[in-house]
Amino acid sequence: MRYLPHTEDDIATMLTSSKADSLDDLFMTIPGDCRRTGDLELPEPLTEWELIDRIDSLSRDVASSREYTTFLGAGSYEHFIPQSVSHLLSRSEFVTSYTPYQPEISQGTLQAIYEYQTLTARLLGMEVANASLYDGASALAEALLMALRVTKGTRVALSRLIHPLYRQVVATYLQPTGYEIVELPYGTDGTTDLSSLDTMDDLAAVAIQSPNFFGSIEDLKTAADKTRDRGALFITAFTEPLAFGLLKNPGALGADIACGEGQSLGIPRCFGGPALGMLACKSKYVRTMPGRLVGKTEDVEGKRGFVLTLATREQHIRREKATSNICTNNSLCALAAAMYMASLGATGMRELAQINHDRSEYLKGELVTAGQDVAFSGPTFNEFVVRFTPDFSSRYDELIEQKIIAGLPIERWYPELPHHYLLCCTETTGKKDIDRFVQEVTP
């Protein structure tokens, strides 16, 4: 077994030194009634070549965009990832290293994450960003808990147009705390209806996603002002960070905390994980922020270096009083995002965001021309909702046979919107495939 280097001689020598007669001897402190009664019944170990075949065959049993034209977004987006990023990310010094608790031999990870924090803060227009959390949904839950700690309020208001699965995660996290979650409904234009905020008390935070689940761009500035009037913290969420290559960022619009999903930045979809939870906030809240932070400092010879800092917020020191229980985060994904943002640059980010916008607007325009009903009229980014005819579900299944996935039906989360589908179009879907799709759904 190539991962187990011990020869029989090695084992014999080491057993003698350890004053044990056999390998079984080493386990004498385990009582009989705590032991397995039989051997492990696992399949016969596969050779590397058999393993390749097995994974290959499983992966063929998944509809991937290699063969399918997929108009699916909803928090998981397809974008081109340059080979340079994949290549750099495979360097084993990044992959096989541990959390940088010994900074002198981890300057690679530490500088890279410091750069990630900086690029993230600049992307979101915020003062400080952390070293990453698990995903956009748990980042939102952590942001809300943070706001509850800061304001000592007991209630949070969440827009119904935040990704439904994010809201489910928030509900799970907040369930044992007793804090109340109030839902903000949406209006006919596909954005959040803020009117109920005017009379809400004891509010710790208001959270709005923009672009929201319907792809619509929210009026974050007005929401920020109203939130401030209630004495609460304004939290903005996002699932598509590329939007900020083109749109005004959360910081410019008054966010106290900005959080969301960074998968679009150089991380493949991979059936939903691993992802990248991004969290940034105003500096005054940094000591109640969850997650790791990398800071700049100097060594004894005055050379610049980087270390994990403000660790007293974290579980290994603060234990039950920590700002979060998070230990392992998603460092390698943050690294991928930094490499991607570095490869794009300011110019590239702007251009790519524009291309994405152009593609989805083209899809939208062509569908309208073909007589389809775009559900919400306001400006959108990358995604929008179409109301197809009631019999569309059988057409949807037929299209799958033709290897086209016509978006995501959203009725299961918005029962008031039957035959409504969320369509997403990024830079990876070309004009030819868009035209073909429009043709296929045109009655």
Binding site: M1, L4, L58, K303, T309, N325
Partner: protein, 484 residues
């Protein structure tokens, strides 16, 4: 004696990203524009982020140089106690990026995700079998996330019984994530001391277990590297008052194929795929923290569940007692692929892996017990704990020795944990280290101990061979500079 692995060499300097670059450089191929440009309302458009513009060569050189400043398992031995830094197989890396999986959307209709759902379902089955428990979720993103999930399940269970409780027993050897996760569920941790054998005694638990206590969070083997021998009786005491036993499975690498967690009375446990199951640590993640439960707790597992019938997999969303969701989608699938590959490659050799992990630790313990103080001279599992007591007379601490060890080409062991041992040095070699590498490690530690006597100042100013010298952590905390 051969030379130690640590030496010096040419290491490149590399500035920060924004200290490189020139406006107008391109680092990435952009797709062709083939549709008309669509305008956006003026008031919605921002300036775009203030990123540097870099060429592809800039980016490649930058990160190649940064990588060279790091030390990974592929560089050398990484004996971090409780982290299980075993070798990360490369075929698993390659297969986790299989294009069919890499491009899969998590919300595809069930019949279009059979391969992925099948892999997750089969992996759940393997983990249930290995632990001796009944049902598994792979949704949590890391160990601490699994602990939170476990606490949420415990909380939901007690609510369902109409007996919500407010306290949970946490041993003094527990990892910080244990009380932190419990606190997130509103539980007050009740501490309990380990006995002079370094393990929990039944009486200590019986004294504090009551109807307001949700249960206990044990780590087995514990963070001193010792097997909690009284676990069955402890479980009985906890169960008798209606409580549940949560096991932190971070140290599972010691007992695969040997211990049966279910038989011990464990109701809920988490595993760390990035420890026991060889998925890489990535400099701090992503990991994966599956949670395994006994049958009676299956209804509380996160949504959706994967069901199988006649070789067809389906997602079950209708589970009224489920705690809900802890991540937006199914969990860290790319990490699951690696663990799945590992289990398929090892099969019954998982047991051998545990045996050799324990052998390596026991060997180190015997070889070093005269050099370093061993607080518990008892049979250890996959890790052993020393202290700096013998070196105190030279005014040399665990920290000094850890920093000097880097000059010899080894990553230091875990230091100052568990908290019950003053100046703790926790060594976990794992089974993938050969006898030669372990002998080199032992020799290096002995050399450092010798230097503590002969040349203590060398240790106090260590490390000497690394990219940077000792860093000013005080300054970083007093005047945080968290972005450039």
């Amino acid at each position: 004696m051969t030379e130690s692995p640590g030496t010096t060499g040419l290491i490149m300097n590399e500035p920060l990203l924004w200290e490189r670059g020139k406006r107008g450089r391109h680092g990435m191929s952009l797709p062709r524009r083939d549709v008309p440009s669509a305008p956006l309302r003026d008031d919605l458009v921002g300036d775009g982020p203030d990123f540097p513009d870099l060429s592809e060569v800039d980016v490649i050189r930058h990160y190649t140089r940064l990588a060279q400043w790091n030390f990974g398992v592929d560089s050398g031995m990484y004996p971090l106690g409780s982290c299980t830094m075993k070798y990360n197989p490369k075929i698993n890396e390659t297969l986790s990026g299989t294009p069919g999986f890499a491009a899969a959307h998590p919300l595809l209709p069930d019949h279009l995700s059979q391969g992925a759902l099948g892999l997750i379902h089969e992996l759940e089955g393997f983990l249930a079998h290995i632990t001796g428990l009944d049902a598994v979720t792979l949704q949590p993103a890391a160990g601490a996330h699994g602990e939170l999930t476990g606490m949420l399940i415990m909380h939901a269970y007690h609510r369902s019984k109409g007996s919500p409780r407010s306290r949970i027993i946490v041993p003094d050897t527990a990892h910080g994530t244990n009380p932190a996760s419990a606190a997130l569920c509103g539980y007050s941790p009740v501490p309990v001391k380990s006995n002079d054998q370094g393990i929990l005694s039944v009486d200590a638990i019986a004294e504090i277990m009551d109807d307001d206590t949700a249960g206990i969070m044990v780590t087995n083997p514990n963070t001193l590297g010792l097997f909690e021998e009284h676990i069955r009786d402890i479980a009985r005491v906890v169960h008798a008052k209606g409580g549940l036993v949560y096991c932190d499975g971070a140290n599972m690498n010691a007992v695969m194929g040997i211990a049966d967690m279910g038989a011990m009375g464990v109701d809920i446990m988490h595993l760390n795929l990035h420890k026991t199951f060889s998925t890489p640590h990535g400099g701090g993640g992503p990991g994966s923290g599956p949670v395994c439960v006994a049958k009676h707790l299956e209804p509380f597992l996160p949504l959706p569940r994967i069901t199988e019938q006649d070789g067809h997999y389906a997602l079950l969303w209708d589970a009224p007692q489920s705690i809900g969701k802890v991540q937006a989608f199914h969990g860290n699938f790319a990490v699951m692929i690696r663990a799945y590959c590992y289990i398929l490659s090892m099969g019954r050799y998982l047991r051998k892996a545990s045996q050799l992990a324990v052998l390596n630790a026991a060997y180190i313990k015997e070889e070093l017990k005269d050099t370093f103080h061993l607080p518990y001279d008892r049979p250890c599992m996959h890790e052993c704990v020393f202290t700096d007591k013998f070196q105190e007379q030279y005014k040399i601490t665990t920290l000094h020795m850890a920093k000097r060890l880097m000059d010899y080409g080894f990553h230091p062991p875990t230091i100052y944990f568990p908290l019950v041992v003053h100046g703790a040095i926790m060594i976990e070699p794992t089974e993938t280290e050969s006898k030669e590498d372990i002998d080199a490690f032992i020799a290096a530690l002995k050399a450092v101990a010798q230097e503590a006597r002969d040349n203590p100042d060398l240790l106090r100013r260590a490390p000497h061979n690394c990219k940077v010298k000792k860093l000013d952590e005080t300054r970083a905390a007093r005047h945080p500079c968290l972005q450039g």
